[in-house]
Amino acid sequence: MSRLKMTINGAAVDVEVPESRYLSEVLREDLRLTGTKIGCNEAECGICTVLVNGTPVVSCVFPAFKAQGATVETIENLSQDGSLHALQQAFLDHGAVQCGICTPGLIMTAKGLLDRKSAAGEPVTEDDIRASLKDSYCRCTGYQSVINAILQASGQDVPPYLPETQEPGLAVGKAQPNPNALAKITGSARFTDDYKFPGMLYARTKRAGVPHARIRSIETSAARKLEGVHAVLTHEDIPGRNAHGVVSIDWPVLCGVKVRYVGDAVAIVAADSEEIAAAALELIQVDYEELPAVTDAIEAVKPDAPLVHEERPDGNLLKHIKVKKGDIDSGFADADVIIDQTYRTPTTEHLFLEPECSIGVPAGYVPTDFGGRCDALAVRGETAKHDKTTIYVGSQIPYGDRDQTAATLGKDPEEVRVVATLMGGGFGGKEDIVGQIHSALLAETTQRPVKMLYSRQESLLVHPKRHATIIRIRTGAARGGKLTAVEATLYGDGGAYASLSEKVLTRATTHATGPYDVPNVKVDCFALYTNNVPCGAFRGFGVTQSCFAVESNMDMLAEKLGLDAVEFRRMNALDVGSETSTGQVMRESVGLNECIDKVDHDMRSDDFRWTWDEGHRRFAWGVAVGYKNTGLGGGAPDKATAEVEAWQDPDKGLMAEVRISSAEMGQGLPAVLAACAAEELGIPTERVSVLLGDTDFCPDGGPTTASRQSYVSGNAARLAAKEVARQLAIAEPAARIKVQHEYWAPKTKPLGAGGDMHVAFGFCAQAALCEIDMRSGEVTVQKIVAAHDVGRALNPLTLEGQIEGGIVMCIGYTLTEHYIQEDGVPWTNVMARYKAPSITHAPKIVSHIVEHNTAAGPFGAKGVGELPSIPTSSAITNAIYRATGVRVRSLPVDQDELLRAIRSGATEVELAWGDVKPIPVINFGGEQ
């Protein structure tokens, strides 16, 4: 221990800390300034940025004692005397805050820039911002709002970018910042890792480290004896069910017999510190009999493939999903032109910037037992008494977590409580159980709160990813341009456990015609178990994959038919009256043609050319369209219950609170729910507060997935509020009224039954202007023109944030991202090996909103969370084709391969960065 003196946020600080500390640790742990966030501890993400002597540095690799005597400034210093710093205000105004985990880092980096520029008397330009924030990542916003906010904060007159939308009501349709944004810009917002309970222990997990093996023995005695270790648990210590899963319960909580992927959990440890827990892991000996691994979906179907789950009747086949409509043979007989191509899409990683963290608190926990303070009125947090086993976690499915944890603990669901903390991004990657059950098990064993925080590296290894797919697709059209048939076969690598594979790949299958009226369809999809990292939900939910194949084929067909790419799509676009591949007749709310028109009009203004050269740089436009279901659909009961309570405040008038266990990942759900309730109550949104995701206080909103929350929970909140309003009208003036409403989305039909498989669909069209450096093959996206039919824009500000963020995420999918595994072992084991788009990849985005109201949606709204992340990839590769004559069949685009093709005159590339072998040849209907 040594003395460390610094001036932090204007105050002299003098602390005794070990010399091995990093600055981020002194700030967060010793000084409890938790506004500074941690995303990687690798100097990659930038969210830990603080100013040291006025200069932005990443505090996670900055030795604390390097800052001896220095002046340090953190986010906590920015708002003075209750008024916000210009940057904070601008981030709020522009909706540049979504999940908020990156916000302190972005703001501090930007402050470094603004301070430097104003000292030099220079104006701040967009280029300055892009250069300064190059290594300050945000996974949510897409950066456009961030750039505009910083320009505004520098004193320029830059209004928030808001597309034109329908006339707003009292609350609905108004651009409003998310209610939790204020806490996020000041650094006071608390994510799970920002909690520190008195007496808390730290947990770590022993991972398999091998992709496939039988466990001979697990030896934990040495680890148990290590000083500071409180518990070491294995499968033998599980009181209840040793398995979990969001769809099928096939994933061991702690493996006892076999491990099926490198990230499988074998033992868990709780100790006084993370260091001790880590040391204990090294003392655990697991004796494995290694088994041959199957790490490729197409290998996995073969009869002699190693079996991932021996007990399953279908071998490694998790599911064969089929879509059939019309007569495929006659459809192709009617076609004059046919395109038959095979595509490959990569495994990708959500890279939410907040790694997973859960804190388990044992039933009967009283903070005073550990020297803490107890506040009789507190219902949650460090000063509250906890009657039940409680888990603090940023989760997409709070009730699901509760029930699954209860099953493993051998308890009744009512004996477990989940408190949903703020989530630093989810994107589908926080639907499965990761540390929730483990932290609860350790908490109950040790009778202490236990924090299970994953490092970035562990997060990369453990949670389910986006499915890698191989898609063969044959599209036929008649000479005039009408589509006659689509046949497709998809292979999806589901990894070691079921997770959401069945659902995700069903969506890939049902959307495999694109949003077109196709009379004859046959699609087969094979979801396979392998010994790779499991795959599950990821924004776009399978449709991102199939859209790449569909829209690539569509462009090739248009070319062969000699038709304009946009016109060809228009001719076949779904409209009211047309029928989807699953036999659903569209009765309303199909804004696809309007989306196409808007994008086409914009793209073709100002002396339009599809492609042109500027020196060695070639520019080209590409277009693509997409659609995505709203809600679970497929016959799954889809419901949400909301509680709305209203009361009269003597000063402010009628006030209300909406309570529902739905997840806010930064997408702006609280703002939407508040608006829905406010509109019905006839009061401004500011007077409605929203409490999300405490299973003891909030009824179940269902999973936050499938772009369903605005629709389902929005309706629940709206209808509960409507009933409150009705009762208020006849109640006494001072009455306090509380209503719960259980909302059921319209019934849907299962796949294969025809009829309405989904309650609604969102539609979109996007055009990408790309630049290809013909010397190096480097591709950049200059501009995206987009139009999205969202039914109704409930909150244009948060909606635009979803659109911009979704588009940039899909640019990453196309150009930068690939989670690579080598024989079941991730090569992508550090963040430095996985590049999400940075601000330097963010294009200018021009966004149009189309509002074809859907009758049963809240005020006409449909879902939007996933839609923008669907067509961007093919818009980009279609532009690349136009520029170079090279068709990209594998993502992400590889400049090395692309340049080779350009120079050799080849017309396609089938290897993407990280691929080692060509795309295999697959047969329609599966391998026999």
Binding site: S20, V61, F62, Q68, G209, E275, S776, A832, P892, G914
Partner: protein, 298 residues
């Protein structure tokens, strides 16, 4: 597999003089490590790759070594100087453009605000960007040890990937220097990256030329990764000197470069073929740019 939080040092020293630093290193007898900005070594430490360090000896607090100076013959850069300082130093931009350009592409601003050129050179990676820029300028480094202080050409410090003649447990790279571009001299740098995966260059190249009319009178070139150590491309310089500032001459230089190296395909980074194409494409471009700058520097 996951980061090992136990990979830490016990003591952190921030000496104010070179003598003090050397004494500390001497006392630790090999178990201490010199640290600059820490942007290389701490990322390794965070990943649990560095277990045997008892103490860090921070070289950035040494008085007088945190600045850039211009004496009669040299521009001298102290070991505490960050990439940000280099990029924004007008003398370096003017008299050593390729160094400013090469330090300017390193990491992001936060990394450049702490990372040092000394650390980049001492780290001895085959394609440290600042290193490549310094090589083309014919840069030299000063190494201080208990037995004395010596200047040596930067190019002679590299032994293998990550291996340097500088004993980073006992010696301090105290200063770096290069001769500023005179009249009719200019330099340029270019790097090719890919947007995926590892933040390591596909190819990084820097050139410095002196011209007289349209004749090249002197040349020096730095390049990497083309082998285990950054390459001071003497054969390329030789073919350029005496030639004209013409595309043909530059293309010939690129061919000579290719004749003298065995390019490797590195997994997930680049094929050797792509590397070769990038050398053929960009070496002529930076040579032309350096010549143009030389012309402007009359």
């Amino acid at each position: 597999m996951t980061a090992n939080p136990t990979s830490r040092w016990s003591s952190y020293h921030k000496p104010e003089t070179v003598e003090e630093a050397l004494e500390l290193l001497h006392d630790y007898d090999g178990s201490a490590r010199v640290i600059g900005g820490g942007t290389d070594i701490l990322v390794e430490a965070r990943r649990g790759l560095r277990r045997s360090i008892d103490a860090m000896v921070d070289a950035t607090g040494i008085a007088g070594l945190d600045t850039i100076s211009h004496d009669q013959d040299y521009i001298v850069i102290g070991c505490g100087v960050t990439h940000t300082q280099i990029v924004s130093d007008e003398r370096i931009v003017r008299y050593g453009a390729c160094l400013a350009e090469s330090c300017g592409v390193i990491g992001g601003p936060q990394v450049r605000n702490t990372g040092t050129l000394a650390g980049n050179v001492a780290h001895a990676l085959p394609a440290g960007d600042g290193t490549i820029g310094l090589l083309a300028l014919g840069g030299e480094v000063e190494i201080a040890s208990t037995t004395g202080t010596r200047w040596m050409p930067a190019k002679d410090t590299f032994v293998g990937p990550g291996k340097s003649v500088i004993d980073r447990h006992r010696e301090v790279l105290t200063r770096l220097r290069f001769k500023p571009a005179g009249t009719q001299e200019g330099s340029a740098f270019h790097r090719v990256m890919r947007p995926q995966g590892l933040c390591l260059p596909i190819i990084s190249m820097a050139a410095r030329l002196a011209v007289d009319g349209d004749t090249i009178t002197a040349a020096s070139i730095g390049m990497g990764p083309v082998g285990p150590v950054p390459w001071f491309a003497e054969p390329v310089a030789t073919v350029l000197v005496g030639g004209t500032t013409s595309t043909e001459q530059y293309e010939k230089a690129a061919e000579v470069a290719l004749d003298n190296v065995t390019l490797r395909s590195s997994k997930y980074r680049a094929t050797s073929e792509y590397r070769a194409t990038m050398i053929r494409t960009y070496l002529p471009i930076i040579l032309a740019r350096a010549a143009e700058r030389a012309g402007a520097n009359q």
